[in-house]
């Protein structure tokens, strides 16, 4: 479907002002907060950055085996 959307320079000016204070623009028929999978990924990363030494040890042990 070919869009025939034509927006004037004035329109861009008006909308720039209107959007200035908006935090978000999302709309949806259902909400989906950050999933467990994403949270887990975040948690793992926190652990590995906190303890570099133990991470190295784990890697070398894996290599040895």
């Amino acid at each position: 479907m070919k869009m025939k959307l034509k927006l004037s320079d004035k329109w861009y000016q008006i909308r720039t002002k209107a959007e200035a204070g908006c935090l978000d623009i999302a709309a949806g028929m259902s909400l989906e907060p950050v999933s467990k999978k994403q949270k887990i990924r975040k948690a793992k990363k926190t652990v590995s950055t906190r303890s570099t030494a133990s991470k190295v040890k784990t890697i070398s042990r894996t290599r040895a085996s």
């Binding site: 720039t16 978000d24 999302a26 709309a27 909400l31 989906e32």
Partner: protein, 199 residues
């Protein structure tokens, strides 16, 4: 699928830049956009408290494309700039009855979102603005194409309600039928005309 030129505001350079409005986003484009968006989102989430995490942070546009992209009733639109998808819209052309004028049919915005790096909710220095306005204008145009004279409807997330009010959409209150009890908004033909032309 078609592509046309629109403009969005590069907030860092403070100037309008040319972007591409993609009508009929492909599954490949949705996959790439989802990859960019989820990587960016992860970085923002690490820096902000959990209470401020967006309620739509788990939206997966690739999965949405797989579910809806094969059906003639749904259309995917995207705004592309700097080789990245800056915002996406999933529109239902399975027409519904307007709640303002029950004799009229209306096009429904199933999902609409901007890329994480454009959200003030996540960053003090968003990259682009006007993505949402261009997508609302796109929905109005699609409504005209469907014979709905610019009427559109959607369920706004709480932190986006102000944006849809700024577009001239009417807040019809909390929708008890919506699984998350979001507020339902409708744009009338008159409001659509004012939104697009200013009069």
């Amino acid at each position: 699928m078609s592509r046309s030129a629109v403009k969005i505001l590069n907030l860092r350079a403070n100037r309008l830049v040319t972007a591409t409005l993609v009508s009929g986003v492909s599954i490949r484009e949705a996959q790439i956009a989802q990859m960019h968006w989820s990587r960016a989102l992860q970085k923002y989430l690490e820096a902000i408290p959990k209470e401020k995490w967006p309620e739509h942070g788990g939206w997966d546009w690739e999965a949405k494309h797989k579910k809806y992209g094969r059906l003639a009733a749904y259309r995917f639109y995207g705004v592309e700039c700097a080789n990245k998808m800056q915002g996406m819209l999933l529109l239902s052309t399975l027409l519904r009855t307007s709640r303002i004028d029950k004799k009229k049919q209306i096009v429904y915005g199933v999902y609409l979102a901007s890329a994480p790096w454009n959200l003030r909710l996540l960053t003090d220095a968003p990259e682009y603005s006007l993505v949402g306005s261009v997508l609302v204008a796109t929905a109005i145009q699609a409504s005209h194409d469907e014979g709905c004279e610019g009427r559109i409807s959607l369920h706004a997330l709480e932190q986006s309600e102000g944006f849809y009010k700024s577009c001239g959409m009417k807040d019809l209150g909390v929708d008890e039928e919506h699984e998350n009890r979001l507020k339902y908004f409708e744009m009338t033909t008159k409001a659509a005309k004012i939104f697009l032309t200013g009069k």
